[in-house]
Every structure is written in C-alpha cells, then in structure tokens.
C-alpha cells in the first residue's frame, strides 16, 4: 500500500476495485465504512454486488476480467474532458503521450460493450472521481489474479497518477495484502529475483555486499524459478529436491489434479509445517514447526508496518522455530550462522543489509511498530509513499496497457464464469481456522454462489447439491442462490477440500508475475439426478 489504514476514516472518496474488503480484510473495511458515515463517497467496481457494493454510492458491475478496458475508458474520459491533474502530470510523470494514445482507443462506447455496463455509468464514474480530490484507490486479488494481472495493476497506477492522487494523504494505490506476512516475505527476499529489501540478485555490487555479510563467495546471479515453474520442474526433473515451508500447495494452486501430479512426482520433498496437510501427504520428510504465538519475531502488514509477534506458550512436542531449523541445515553444510534468536536475525542482519529497514530495531518496536522505509534510527517511519510526487525512480512512468480477455472464456460447453475468493469465517485451506472452536459452526461447508436467474434456468433450488464442472475437474457442492452474484457467474472459495474451487480453476498465469488466473475460468452447473 502506498498509504495507511489510519487514513481511511479521513478519506473523502474511495474507488474499491476487485476487493471484497468486508470479508477478506474486515477491520480495514470498518475504517472505510466509518468514512462513509462521515459523508465520504464510495465507488465499488466489482462483478459481485457484495456488502460493500451495497453501501456504495455507485456500484459498477463490470464483467469479470474487463478491468483494463474500464480503467482505460475512465482515463479516456478524463483526458478528453480535460479533467485530469495537468500540473501533476507535467511535473511528476513521463510518457503521458503514450498513455493518451492508448486510452483514446478505449471510448466509453467500446468499454461499455466489453465491460457490460452502461456507457453513461463509465462517464459518471469519471465525473465523480474527477470531482473529489484525493480519491483513495484500493484493490485486492480481483486485480492481480488474472493473466493480465500486471497490466491491471499498472492501469490502477496510471489512473491515480493521471488524477494526481499519488504522494498525498488519503490517496494512493492500495493493494490490501491477503496474508499477515505476505508483505514481509516479499521484503525478506523470499522471491527468486531479489535479496532482502528488493535488492536485485543480478546486481554485482549487491551480490558482493551479501557475499561479504554472509561470509560466502559466488552467490548466484541468475533469477530463480517462480512457484509454477518449480512445480512444473518437479515433473520434468529440472527440480529434484523441493522444500515447502508452511504452504498447502495441494489445495491452494489452480487445478488440484495437476498440482497433485506434480507433488507426487517430486523426487525428494521436505515439508515444514504445523499440521499435517494435503501437501504433507507427498513429503519424504516432515519437520514440525512452532506456530504464530509460539514465536518471537515480526510481521509486516499491508501498510509496511513492522510489528512484533510475541510468545504466549511453548510449541508442542519437539516442534521448533523455523529459523532454528534452517540454521541447523546450514550447519550441516558447514556454515555456522551466528544469530540465535529472531531479534538477533533482525537487528544484526536484516536491518543492516536492507536500507529500508536500517532504522528499525527491536527496541523501537515496542508500541505500534514502524512503517518502512525507515532508513536510520531516528527516522519516524513512512505513512505514505512518494510524498510530493517524488517516485522511487524519479518521475512516475505511465505504462499504457491494452485489455485482453481471460485465457478461458465461457462457451457453449462451459457457459458460466467461475470466479473465486475468500469468505469471512475461514482462512485459506482451513488448516488453522478449521481447528478453532466455533468457526466451523459459522461456516461449515463450501457453496457455489449462483444468481437466482441461472438457478431458475436450471431448476436449481437454494441449498440443493449441484455439480460444477470445468475442463479440469468437477465438484459436488451446495447451491447458494444470492443476488450478490450476477447472472452468468459462479462464485466459490477454496476453504474446503472436497468442494475446493481449485479442482476447477485454470492453471494459466500472468506473463510477468506468474500469478494464476483464479478469478476467471469457464464452468457449467448441473442438477445432480438423484437415484430415487
């Protein structure tokens, strides 16, 4: 997030696109709703009429996967009408001409046709976002989980730069991150192309710095593999040893049958986890780890805030902290790592090696933590990025993007779109929430959310078990008739193994990030004929 949660309740206008915040980030949504009570405006762009959409001043129900066409059309109107921030564009950005040339092709007429919303609604949206400044843009996986995910993200940034809504309080581009420490895992360099602090592995000077700090030579310079490539490597033999730490890939990745074939192909699989999962079934070695409240350490939230995690009780049996396990393996390769606690790892290594964290030390994290960048020890941390239009790379670069449809679109055989996501009472594959007293009572099984119109066409009753099939697989699942879902769409989550949406989802990826297209594939629904 460029900005912070504490700005939400003061914001004047929001555009929430591809985010079901009330279920996926409930507490963040409360601040947004507080702003609405104080008179802020809300535009929700989402195929589903979810709770937040029902509270919105304007809900724009675009078709799944048409975000770029919609955002480009907004920019078309803003430029054609002269409603953009000319001063910001002139002084803080480059390549406006390229953007203008691209979006000129996206007339509201054209976008209305692609997106399935009235042309006047697109103009109305443009008028509204041009009339209140700043506007805060929030998105979640509805933007990223597409084959065009990177371009979707670029388009949201283009829009906010065009409106001059970057580098100001209560503005910005704000992806709400899904997991408690997904920001932190990125920051720490658990990525194939960067060291901690986003320092590129391809940079010789940076490699030299890490070689010195770690007391090794010849760190690898080539970018490594991304998860989908690793998984494919298990089958073709390129990857022979696979180490999975705290992930339940067998349920979370698209096309479970393919994923399980890949995991079963692993020559040597190590799983380090707190529970046996669908993934540990394929392991050759399973290492028991300490969980959340059995650790001292830090998490970094969506707004770049590094906060403490503290120990409440000891891990069960012989389970050990994860950092300890990695250290023991390093020792067996002849490397003696000095740090012997999370604090020593952070204070002596991470904050020394990654400039953004230079000023973050454990003794400064006792209260509300610190938001990076925080380069030196007397730095107060950074609430919002790019202040006064100063971007990391100097000027903000407009990157024009063209719309492409999802890889698999409905056809005669599979006439509906399946889109997936998360529900409030559970978390991902329920390894944790499924083992908490009461949460299964609140939500005990998966449903396929369908529109009353599609249900009527098939003679499906609310609560009836139906079959949902795609080219990858099929599940039997209860139908949930709801006006939140538009006709032509099926919506499911991946919390329950048997009716997990990932039996159906399409393993196709964004070219750059290799994020899978969880938000769009083609399915059909059928009544299950009873034997009687």
């Amino acid at each position: 997030m460029t900005n912070s949660f504490n700005e939400f309740s003061r914001a004047k206008m929001f555009m929430v696109i591809g985010s079901n915040m009330t279920e996926a980030h409930p507490v963040a949504a409360t601040f947004l709703k507080n702003a609405l009570l104080r008179g802020a405006q809300l535009i929700v762009v989402d195929p589903r009429r979810h709770k937040l959409a029902k509270m919105a001043d304007l809900h724009v129900p675009i078709r799944v996967g048409t975000d770029i066409a919609f955002l480009n059309a907004l920019m078309h109107v803003l430029i054609a009408e002269g409603w953009y921030d000319k001063k910001f564009v002139a002084s803080c950005t480059v390549d406006f001409d390229k953007l203008a040339a691209t979006v000129m092709r996206y007339t509201p007429e054209y976008a209305a046709d692609v997106c399935g919303v009235p042309m006047e609604m697109i103009r109305d949206t443009a008028r509204r976002i041009a009339s209140v400044k700043p506007m805060m843009l929030c998105y979640t996986l509805g933007i990223t989980e597409h084959t065009c995910g990177t371009r979707n993200v670029m388009s949201t940034a283009n829009l906010q730069m065009l409106l001059g809504n970057i580098g100001v309080e209560c503005g910005g581009v704000n992806p709400l991150r899904g997991q408690n420490n997904v920001q932190g895992a990125c920051d720490m360099g658990a990525l194939p192309n960067v060291f901690p602090g986003y320092q590129k592995v391809g940079d010789m000077a940076l490699r030299a710095k890490f070689e010195k700090a770690w007391g090794v030579d010849a760190l690898p310079a080539a970018n490594g593999l991304m998860i989908p490539q690793m998984m494919e490597g298990l089958v073709d033999g390129r990857v022979r040893g696979f180490y999975i730490f705290g992930e339940n890939l067998a349920n979370t990745e698209p096309d479970i049958r393919k994923v399980e074939h890949e995991l079963a192909s692993a020559e040597f699989l190590v799983c380090q986890d707190i529970f046996p999962t669908e993934t540990t079934r394929f392991a050759h070695v399973v290492l028991p780890a300490a969980a959340w409240s059995e650790n001292d350490g830090t998490f970094t939230n969506s707004e770049r805030r590094v906060n403490r995690v503290r120990t409440a009780s000891a891990p069960p049996g012989q389970a050990k902290p994860n950092w300890w396990i990695f250290k023991q393996i390093a020792r067996r390769f002849g490397q003696q790592w000095a740090a012997d606690s999370a604090q020593e790892i952070w204070d002596n290594e991470i904050s020394v090696l990654a400039p953004q964290f230079g000023g973050i030390k454990y003794h400064r994290l006792e209260g509300d933590g610190l938001q990076w960048p925080c380069p030196v020890e007397d730095h107060p941390g950074t609430c919002f990025l790019h202040q006064d239009g100063h971007f990391t790379c100097g000027l903000g670069v407009f990157t024009p993007c063209d719309w492409t449809p999802p890889a698999e679109v409905p056809d005669e055989q599979y006439p509906l779109v399946l889109s997936t996501g998360r529900r409030l009472a559970h978390y991902h594959t329920r390894t944790q929430t499924g083992r908490c007293e009461g949460l299964n009572e609140i939500l005990g099984e998966e449903t396929a959310d369908i529109s009353p119109a599609d249900a009527r066409a098939k003679g499906i009753a609310h609560g009836e078990t139906i079959r949902v099939s795609s080219r990858r697989g099929q599940v039997a699942v209860k139908a949930n008739l709801t006006d939140e879902v538009p006709a032509g769409m099926v919506w499911m989550a991946f919390h329950f193994r048997e009716a997990c949406a990932n039996w159906l989802t399409n393993p196709v990826y964004d070219d750059i990030t290799m994020t899978a297209e969880y938000k769009a594939c083609a399915v059909r629904i059928e009544k299950i004929q009873s034997d009687r």
Binding site: N181, A190, F333, L424
Partner: protein, 375 residues
Amino acid sequence: MSENVFTLNGNEVDFQPGETILEAARRHDIDIPTLCHLAGATPTGACRICVVEIEGAETLMTACTTPVVKGMRVLTESPRVVETRRTLLELMLAYGNHNCAAGQAGGENWTAYQLKAQEIDGDALCPAWGDCKLQELAFRYQARADRFVLTPDSPPPELANPMIVRDFSRCIRCGRCIQACNEIQVNRAINYGYRGSDLKVVTPGDFPLANSNCVFCGQCVEACPTGALVDSKARYRWRPWKTEKIRTTCPYCGVGCQQWLHVQDGRIVRVTAVEDAQPNQGRLCVKGRYGYDFIYSEDRLKTPLIREGEGFREVSWDEALDLVAERFKEIIAASGPDALAGVSCARSINEDSYQMQKLFRAVFRTNNIDHCART
C-alpha cells in the same frame, strides 16, 4: 494565558473549543466515571453516570455530551454528584441480575473483596467478575444492590451461537454494544427494540444473533461494561486476575491487527484488541478474536517424520535433518544447486523467511526461492 479557560474542581484550566467536559477533564487527569461512553462513537449521555455539577445550572449535566464554555465552573465529585451517581448505580443494580453484591462489601477494600470472591470462583460467579465497570463503580460509590425492589428474573441467556453469550439479565441498556456494532464496525446487526421497561438490545425481528446480520466480530463483547455480553470460548475460563496479557500481531489477513493474548496457565484463553493501537484502533474481526485455539489442536505436528512406505516414521531431529542435508547435497552434486527449489511461508515471521532465502542463496547457491505472494 489562553482565553479558553474554565474552572474544574476549583482550578482554572484550559480547554479546546468544542471539547466536552469529559474530554477536557480527562486531558487534565480528572477521572469522571463513564459507562455508556465509547471512544470513537457519538456520545449519548444514556447512562448519566458522568453527571457533573455546573454552577448556575439547575440540573446535573452529563459530562460526555456537554461542551465546555468559557468561564464555566464545574465540580466533578461534589456531594450532590456523588449521591446522584450512587442512586443511578443502585437503580442499575436493582434492574436484572447483578449478584456480585458490590454494595454488601461493607468497609472492605477492593482487593480484599476480590480475594474473597476468588475463593468461590465457578459458575456461581458472574463471568465478568473483576472485569465489570458496573461492579467497579458500585464499589467506588458504595452503592447497595438492595435499596430498590429487585426486578423479577430475566429470560435465560442466549447460547444459540458459538461465539457470543447474551445474558440480558446483566444488561444495563447503556447502548455501547449498539454503538460498537453500528458506528465502529458498521455491521448494523443490533439496535434498541421495544419501549419503556421492555427496552432491549435486539437484532431486526429480535431473532438470535445466529439468524441476523451479525458477523461475530465480537466488538460488542469488547464494548460491554458488564457481563451481558461474554465471549463463549472464554466464559468461566478467563478470569482477569489469573491472566497475563501479551501483545502480539494477528496471524490472519494483511491488516496486522494488534491483539492482547490473555494467557492463563500457559494457554491463551481469550483475545481482545489493543485499544488505541495502530493499525486496528481497538478492533478485531471474527478470526482475529476467536481464531486462536488452533495452536492447541491435537493434530499438531510434534515430531520430525520420515517417509516409510505409505506412512511416516517418527524420528529425531538429527536423523531428519541429516537426511535432508544428505539428499540435498547429493542432488546438488549430481544436478547442480538449481535442482533445488523452495517455497517460503507468508504466514510466518519475517525472520523465518529471511533465514530460508539465506539458506537457499548462501548455502545451496540457488535463487530458486519463492513464496505465495504471486497467488
């Protein structure tokens, strides 16, 4: 000297324009008791416990709703104020089931009173014992529960959901839960229903919470000053005098809410939000508040395991780690370091991800390290 001054208990103090008496007094470390006042919500003056005496005003005024005016002379603990507060408390104690008998404690001090109660800890003691604002104030103002005729018994508590016990017999109709639901979390599941002495906090249609818009965020429980709303999972397990509070960060979504873990005999027995903390400002959701007990599941992995046929064999750490190192060394020797790949965890602490990428880069010599950020 600032123009904006008023007299508070005989001392001239400043105030900010628009500030209420309560806010100004708190800023000057004068403790005015409140029951219905909820930070971040509109003051209602419903409970009237914060009444103060203002020179020239005929009646006592509620400090939470009355703005300070220049030159105002305010007394926060005058005999008239104290007597009024005691009467208000005695009326509240008479209405419903408040059997903690605060007023019967005689001249004993608070600690002695609590110690005595701990000896009879069990279902007989209110689940909010020791964490009840009404009880605390009844003791402070020596209010007696038996001054007024007690109302007849209320209906039994609502237990028809897994998270929140609603015991209307302990409700003082202060409305904090309603404000927490409507103004803080904005879930709009509850409000006042019925009229007069039948006044009650209800869902639309007065159905149980499980059949309403309630999302079980538990903010109402956190707001309740008495034992009317209690976390089911903590009921009769959590006792404030037995617990240690540990601050931590929620393990679920990327908001990073700050929590208090209430730890009793080495186990988390309750989770509440850290007031005024960033980023969540005293709020949690259903998972953050009630999704903590997975760590005590019997399913936890407790021993390293090595595959043997279709199953696993329990082994020592040394045996497991030796095997991992040996196999990885063989693979590196035969196929090079890029034949290894690893996926880190977006749920675990920063330091774990740092160590894992260091293991892959500095020890194995491959950049084949990733995690689920891309999905």
